[in-house]
């Protein structure tokens, strides 16, 4: 009896259809204009149908959040080609900035919005995507220690949290338009200068 299997397949297809429409609206018009009704319009189903496949909007946004992390992790994999482990860390930083600037809406969903975190809390699940990407950083920092770029007595987790905090802060100050404070049009330059300075700080103080 393959009916239940077909049903399950159709259900998964429908979930995909909804998720793709959500992604389309999210990337095109941003978060504000990604409404359940809007998604329903795109897929030509009634709004209520969406609730047969996702518990609520938070869960739908969580699904989108998972896709976003997959995309980021894939772009991260490009840094693997860099031989030197410290240079690989620098490369990861550049990729992180690049991803955030090219996908501001997704970055918001991944690291700022409460919706996906609330959805996880509802399901009593942990933030696995966050953990995996943090692990990516952790591995590189660990290798920086092993290869002698960073001294031995540094706590890897503390170093990672410090690096991530800096990167996340720089990016959100930029994305949330708080660099408009600098009244020139050197925002991008200023970010690059700060990033270079931070790299120097790592190099000098972790030696």
């Amino acid at each position: 009896m393959g009916i239940t299997e077909r049903k399950e397949r159709e259900r998964e297809e429908m979930r995909h259809l909804i998720l793709n429409a959500a992604q389309k609206l999210f990337l095109e018009n941003g978060y504000e204009k990604t409404s359940i009704r809007g998604i329903a319009d795109v897929i030509e189903y009634s709004p209520a149908t969406i609730y047969l496949y996702y518990k609520d909007k938070n869960e739908l946004l969580l699904a989108l959040h998972v896709v976003a992390f997959q995309k980021m992790m894939q772009e991260f994999s490009e840094v693997a080609v860099v031989e030197n482990s410290f240079e690989r860390l620098v490369s990861l930083g550049k990729q992180y900035i690049k991803f955030a600037i090219e996908n501001p809406g997704l970055y918001d969903l991944m690291f700022i919005m409460q919706a996906p975190i609330e959805a996880l809390a509802c399901k009593d699940e942990v933030w696995e995507d966050g953990m995996k990407s943090f692990d990516f950083l952790r591995i590189i920092v660990t290798e920086c220690k092993n290869k002698g770029h960073f001294r031995e007595n540094l706590d890897v987790d503390t170093v990672c949290l410090t690096i991530w905090s800096y990167m996340h802060g720089l990016i959100t100050i930029y994305l949330k338009n708080r660099m408009d404070m600098f009244e020139d049009d050197r925002q991008m330059d200023r970010m690059q200068e700060s990033f270079q300075l931070f790299i120097e700080m790592l190099k000098v103080s972790f030696k």
Copy 2:
């Protein structure tokens, strides 16, 4: 003819009344539950009345954002008692973290939400509150250079942006529940450890 003066005074009182109600709701129930209708209920006026005193919700949130900056700057003034300029910088960092954790809603409004920035853009104004608080940091960093804590060839603006980025990142990772990733209940400890590490980084690499 003191009628226009009285009218202006009454108008200002009404703006205050609205702003206070907004602040009350914002601090008690957070952003989501701070609605125009909710504010109207508190002050016992109709929702439409609020629009006679504030152009829209963004402008009201901008007014609240101004109050928030006043509060933060007042708390910042406490660090003036610290003699050593580098220690004053450390103190400022601690005050910044303290303010953010004690006033997460206000911090959101000041540094993450788009509403006040959009309201400013509408009025063709610059982010003066942001500039003033950044100046506070700039002055202390400048003195760190003058007193020999930081070397001479560092660009003050770049240093300030780097410090602010780190602080802002650490705080938002915490406030937006992205530290739930660490499955222990040492979140606060981890923040402190990272903060200490960053202070050491400044001390060592800017010498």
